[in-house]
């Protein structure tokens, strides 16, 4: 149990990389990159977790009554999620542009075009 979340994060990263490398469609590749991003969220939050802890939000909790989990990693992850989505949008825009210019979004066909 004490390493399981880290291993899951590693697995998600590796499977995402596998998908990226073997993808035949750039839109699918962007989706795989989103999977890779998810691994960082899992890792960061797993590092910040504390057994029996609760969220460091004191609107409905008296400070000091319960142990709280680490807020710093949560803050990092929070911004990362939204910014990651806009970066996904940027990559999708690139894919759309590639599709417009070359008529295909298969990376293998694209390298044939160049050569």
């Amino acid at each position: 149990m004490s390493v399981l979340p880290y291993l899951v994060a590693g697995w998600i990263f590796l499977i995402g990389c596998y998908g990226l490398a073997t993808s035949r469609n750039l839109i699918h590749a962007v989706g795989c990159l989103a999977v890779c991003q998810a691994s960082t969220y899992v890792l960061l939050l797993a590092v910040g977790y504390r057994d029996g802890g609760t969220a460091p939000v004191f609107s409905d909790l008296k400070p000091g009554t319960r142990p709280v989990v680490d807020p710093v990693v949560q803050a990092l992850t929070l911004t990362d999620v939204v910014v990651g989505a806009t970066v996904t949008a940027l990559l999708l825009a690139l894919v759309v542009q590639v599709g417009k210019r070359h008529g295909t979004v298969d990376p293998d066909e694209l390298s044939e075009l160049r050569g």
Binding site: P56, V57, V68, V69, V72, A93
Partner: protein, 290 residues
């Protein structure tokens, strides 16, 4: 490199990485441990500044400069998308035909739109108190507006979405964040320092500059996402290639009539016709030779 060789390289690299990750995870502090030195200090600092949502305090007070960087990434990503997906000279616009949506769905969307909008604003406004904040609430607000596209009609969305205004709001959100940071300099302390009075714990006005920075981020995220989606929608719904004879009939948003439509260039200057193949409105649709 052949496909097979590439897979081998991937397998070797992946295996090596897996071994390294496994070794690293054994050395990490155990999951659920009690040792969180930064977390403990962050909670103390947030409570000292009367901010009840410690995550918001970390984002907009203790690590506000870092958030400025994140926000700039978001701004640049939105900018880059708009530049990449702009209408080029060999493309023209086609007015999408009105979509036909089942009446119950349409009614649901018209009810859900204000509700979702309200929830988004609530999430933004309560960012310093309960879970939520500008990043999350901004996305909810932007999604709420797009209920009009997904359940009513693209043209209904266009009516409430003057894109220039949202682009300006995007920039204004970013600028507000920068200027609020400068307030710290004017007050004689550091950039992005929390210079306002901290207020009463667990009320809307608590946390000094946190609610203001939060609101600035909310405005920026909401309008940034609207601008992003607008450029995607433009590409997917309106913009078509000039040398695509089918496009005028085929590419309408929800095409179901089968008759070719004339490109409506009333608000757009006609694309410069370099190839001479731009179909005029009177051209019958013809099959493109292979």
């Amino acid at each position: 490199m052949s496909r097979r060789a590439r897979l081998w390289v991937l397998a070797v690299g992946g295996l090596g990485l897996a071994v390294l990750l496994f070794a690293a995870s054994l050395e990490l502090p155990g999951f659920g441990g009690d040792w969180h030195p930064y977390g403990v200090r962050a909670v103390e600092a947030a409570l000292a500044r009367h901010t009840s949502n410690v995550v918001a305090a970390v984002n907009f007070d203790q690590r506000a400069f870092d958030t400025l960087g994140e926000e700039s990434i978001l701004f640049c990503a939105a900018l880059g998308t708009v530049v990449l997906l702009r209408q080029t000279s060999d493309e023209h616009r086609v007015r999408p035909e009105p979509a036909r949506v089942a009446p119950p769905v349409r009614r649901y969307a018209l009810v859900a739109l204000p509700v979702t909008l309200l929830i988004g604003l609530y999430i933004v406004a309560h960012g310093q108190l309960s879970p939520g904040g500008g990043f999350q609430g901004g996305v909810v607000v932007a999604t709420a507006l797009h209920l009009l596209y997904i359940a009513v009609d693209y043209r209904a969305l266009e009516r409430i979405r003057p894109i220039g205004l949202y682009a300006m709001a995007d920039a204004a959100g970013e600028a507000a964040y920068l200027l609020l940071g400068a307030a710290g300099l004017i007050a004689g302390t550091a950039y992005l320092a929390n210079v306002l009075p901290y207020g009463t714990f667990n009320t809307l006005a608590s946390g000094g500059t946190v609610p203001l920075l939060n609101a600035a981020v909310g405005v920026e995220v909401a309008s940034g996402v609207v601008v992003l989606l607008a450029s995607f929608l433009d590409q997917a719904v309106e913009i078509v290639d000039a040398d695509d004879p089918d496009s005028s009939g085929r590419n309408s948003d929800q095409d179901n009539s089968g008759r070719p439509r004339a490109p409506d260039n009333s608000d757009q200057p006609p694309a410069p016709d370099t190839s001479g193949r731009t179909p005029t409105p009177h051209n019958p649709p013809e099959e493109k030779p292979t």
